[in-house]
Subunit: 114 residues, 2 copies
DNA sequence: CAGAATCCGACGGGATACTG
DNA sequence: CAGTATCCCGTCGGATTCTG
C-alpha cells in the first residue's frame, strides 16, 4: 500500500502507470523534455488532441508535479509549459519505451489459429 | 509513421504506450514475469479486476504477442498464461517504472496557490 | 492566445447470470 | 475452472461556441 499526491495504490508500479498511463501524457512529457512549449504549439504538434483534452492532461500533469505552468502576464496571454525535476525523472522510463518501440517497429504478430 | 500488428502510430513511443497503457496490462505483465499463472490465480491477485476485464486485457496482450495462452485439454479446464519473449522484452520498461514508483512513494506535491 | 463552458454520443467497464 | 452473455450506467472525449 503506497500513496502519491493523495492517491492510494497497491504497489509502486500501479502508482507509476496511473501517472503516465493513457495515450497523451507520455507524448506530452516527451516533447516537453526537449524544451518549453506553449499551449498552441502543443496543440499543433498533436492535431488529433482537442484543446479540452490537452488542457485536462496538462492539468493532471501539473497537479502531479510533473509539469510546470509558467504564466507571462501580458496581452495576448503567453503560457509556457516545462518539465519539473520530477518530470525529468520520468525520462528513463520514456527512453526505455521509445527504445522498445523503435526496435519493434513494423512487427507483425502471427495470430494463433483456432 | 510506424506500425505494430496492423495498427498505425505517429511514433514509437505512441506505439509502446498503446500496448501497455492503461492500469491493468503492466500489472498483468509484471506478475506473469515471475512465472505462469492461471486465470483464477490472476483473478485472486487482482480482486478489483472483473473477469470481463481480465479476459479482455489478456486477449489484447495475447493478440499483441506479449502473452501466451496455454490450454491443457482436460476437465476441469486448465489454462496457463505465460510471457512470450516479446513480453519479456518489456521488462526493462516495467523495471524502470517500478524503480521510479518505489523511489517516489508517499510523495506529496504542493499545489500551486491561485 | 489560452483556455472555459456546454452539449451530447460512444463506449469502457461493473454487476450479475449462465455454460462447456 | 475458465470463461461468455447481457444489461446498464457513468465517464471519456469530440464538436462547437464563447471569453478575458
Amino acid at each position: 500500500m503506497v500513496t502519491f499526491n493523495g492517491k492510494t495504490y497497491e504497489c509502486p508500479l500501479e502508482m507509476t502507470i496511473d501517472l503516465i498511463g493513457g495515450k497523451w501524457k507520455v507524448l506530452l512529457l516527451w516533447h516537453l523534455s526537449k524544451g518549453p512549449l506553449r499551449f498552441n504549439e502543443l496543440s499543433r504538434i498533436f492535431p488529433h488532441l482537442s484543446t479540452k483534452m490537452l488542457t485536462q492532461q496538462l492539468r493532471d500533469l501539473e497537479r502531479d508535479g510533473l509539469v510546470h505552468r509558467n504564466i507571462y502576464p501580458q496581452v495576448p496571454p503567453k503560457v509556457e509549459y516545462t518539465l519539473t525535476d520530477l518530470g525529468h525523472s520520468m525520462m528513463p522510463i520514456l527512453q526505455e519505451m521509445n527504445r522498445w518501440g523503435t526496435s519493434h517497429i513494423n512487427t507483425q504478430i502471427p495470430q494463433s489459429d483456432q
